[in-house]
């Protein structure tokens, strides 16, 4: 069980409204990712669900029960913090057992659950160490272990991977996804990294300034972004936007083309431009092409073999069926 509904919730800090009235429904077993630029209110939203902040108005329902006034410990949710928030003076075993101890379980039951969690997370050899003696990834797993033993209705992750290095981040991403497949428990995950969002989520919630811009599966957001913000935020490298004469031809105020939907040719094409920087990644090459009347260079993804050099003139052709059109309000034109 782990079905969470937010109904018209708002949050003010003093006179500043950081979350205007907001509705959201999270179904049991879903992996939901809140994503948005920093300061968009995604962490605040998570803390509202956790109960660490009180909502200014509106209702939070967890499994059909109104949880708006319920204290955090009684909501049946477990949270993994950005700093992991392990208790430094306790061993790993005591850290993981802490919620069980607080719940008044006897020693034998505590140990059984801790051992089981440690086995799932490959922590068995580290149970008697202190958090200070562990690596970043291990600490992360201890924090997850502490959440697992409580058998919560839902897990809340607050940017859990942002303190890890890039290689470890990819690993932990897989481990968390794997964990979700095993446990089938609702997970709510906050991140500013759209790659994490795209790779892990069943459902992505894109936020900007406390407002939900769009909710949908990763591919829905990729193929049919509701507005220019979502279009620019989802996808890597970012979508290219063109206005003015380029957009007028498509009967729109702005058009957007993803770098992977533009083909490059040395001899002919729709747009003419000069190659700026080119980044060779082996599998792909990213070209930054300056074209007349557009301020930012157009990013183009090409094969790894292309041999365009700085200053070369190239011709770009967008894939007409993959062009996104936006009106003056930056909303998508269907």
């Amino acid at each position: 069980m782990g079905q969470i509904t937010l109904n018209q919730i708002t949050k003010n800090f003093g006179d500043v409204q950081v979350i205007p009235p907001l509705d959201l429904r999270i179904d049991d077993g879903e992996f939901v990712v809140f994503v948005g630029p920093s300061g968009c209110g995604k962490s605040t939203l998570l803390r509202l669900i956790a109960g660490l902040e009180d909502v200014t108005s509106g209702d939070i329902t967890i499994d059909g029960r109104n949880a708006t006034e319920v204290p955090p410990a009684k909501r049946g949710l477990a949270m993994v913090f950005q700093s992991y928030a392990l208790y430094p003076h306790m061993s790993v075993r005591k850290n993981i057992a802490f919620p069980l101890r607080m719940a008044g379980l006897d020693k034998a039951a505590q140990n059984a659950k801790v051992e089981a969690a440690a086995k799932v997370l490959n922590l068995t050899d580290y149970l008697d160490r202190r958090p200070g003696q562990l690596s970043g990834g291990q600490r992360q797993r201890v924090a997850i272990g502490r959440a697992i033993v409580r058998e919560p209705a839902a897990f809340l992750f607050d940017e859990p991977l942002s303190n890890l290095d890039a290689a470890l981040r990819v690993n932990m991403r897989l481990e968390i996804s794997e964990l979700h497949q095993t446990l089938k428990t609702t997970m709510i995950y906050v991140t500013h990294d759209q790659v994490e969002a795209m790779t892990m989520a069943d459902k992505i919630v894109v936020l900007q300034a406390g407002v939900i811009e769009q909710v949908g599966s990763p591919l829905e957001l990729y193929h049919t972004p509701r507005n220019r913000f979502v279009a620019g935020f989802i996808g890597s490298p970012k979508m290219n936007f063109l206005t003015g004469q380029y957009a007028a031809g498509y009967d729109a105020a702005t058009i957007g083309v993803r770098p992977e939907h533009i083909s490059v040719s040395p001899s002919e094409g729709t747009w003419t431009g000069r190659v700026g920087v080119s980044e060779h990644l082996g599998s792909d090459t990213f070209l930054y092409v300056d074209i007349d009347g557009v301020d930012d260079p157009i990013t183009v993804r090409s094969t790894g073999e292309i041999s365009a050099r700085h200053g070369d003139t190239v011709y770009l052709t967008p894939d007409a069926s993959k062009i996104h059109r936006f009106d003056k309000q930056d909303l998508r034109i269907a």
């Binding site: 410990a73 949710l77 949270m79 928030a85 306790m90 802490f98 607080m102 200070g132 502490r146 409580r150």
Partner: protein
């Protein structure tokens, strides 16, 4: 750039400070040792020659010695207990967002700036005086017989006065320690189902253990030498004679410098024993 040259230059530049500090420490220590082996009565014949360990034997065999050691330990222990317990509570209180926080903090720290002599006199005359003291008025208001603090509960009174002076120090150190606690840890324990008392016991107190160790160590060093508070209140009567005060009496009231110096050497030894014990008990908190 620690070349041979710069290292010797550094040594030369540090030398005056080192020499000064050494002299500061060594000269009084040697003089104390020197006098402790002499029969030296300034008003009754002056220097009467070497007497070996006579002074040491006399100082310990005096009926006043062991009670004074006990009194010293009671005062140190009592003040430590009060300042640490109240210090932790005050630190938690001051850590809360509070209206007029800045002023409240300055007020709490204020007693530390009052000279020991002055604060003891203020307590003696304004609070504890059995006729005009505030406590006496309070007692009378409730129809009770005013307590003669300094003669009925002299040791407790002195512990109270000294605690009042040292509470700000403990509070200040513990407050900074509390402020360094990661708030996510408290939130995590809250989510883990720990009620406020458990959060205090399992998270806050262990976090403070190091700061408490420091408070205990530093205060002990200073509290072993408490003097002014006793001098201006009970003058060492009613069982408030500490080791320090006993030495003072031997030297200045009995005008027996040799005997007092021997006591001084004992005081050094006692301080070191206490220090070693403290290091053993609480020192392990400073590792890790």
């Amino acid at each position: 750039m620690a070349t041979q040259h710069s290292r010797s230059a550094a040594r030369i530049m540090m030398a005056p400070a080192v020499v000064l500090l050494l002299g500061w420490m060594l000269i009084p220590l040697t003089m104390t040792l020197y006098f402790s082996f002499k029969k030296y009565l300034p008003l009754r014949g002056g220097d009467l020659g070497w007497v070996g360990f006579d002074n040491y034997v006399r100082f310990v065999s005096s009926s006043a010695f062991w009670p004074s050691v006990q009194t010293t330990l009671v005062i140190v222990g009592g003040v430590l207990l009060i300042t640490v317990v109240l210090g932790v509570l005050l630190a938690i209180l001051l850590d809360q967002p509070l209206w007029g926080q800045g002023i409240v903090r300055i007020l709490v720290i204020a007693p530390f700036f009052v000279m020991p002599t002055v604060s003891a006199l203020v307590w003696k005359n304004m609070f504890m005086d059995p006729v005009n003291g505030l406590f006496a008025h309070l007692w009378k208001f409730f129809g009770a017989q005013p307590v003669e603090w300094l003669s009925d509960a002299p040791l407790f009174s002195i512990i109270l006065i000294v605690s009042w002076q040292w509470l700000p120090f403990a509070t200040l150190i513990l407050l900074t320690a509390i402020q360094s606690l990661d708030s996510e840890q408290l939130e995590a324990s809250e989510m883990d189902g720990a009620p406020p008392l458990a959060r205090f016991g399992f998270i806050i107190l262990p976090h403070l253990s190091r700061a408490i160790t420091i408070v205990v160590l530093i205060q002990t060093i200073f509290l072993l030498a408490v003097f002014a508070e006793i001098f201006v209140t009970t003058q060492g009567s009613f069982g408030t004679r500490t080791l320090t005060y006993l030495i003072f009496q031997r030297v200045l009231e009995s005008q027996n410098v040799g005997l007092g110096s021997a006591g001084g050497v004992y005081a050094i030894i006692l301080a070191n024993i206490v220090a070693i014990f403290l290091m053993r008990i609480v020192g392990k908190n400073l590792d890790s």
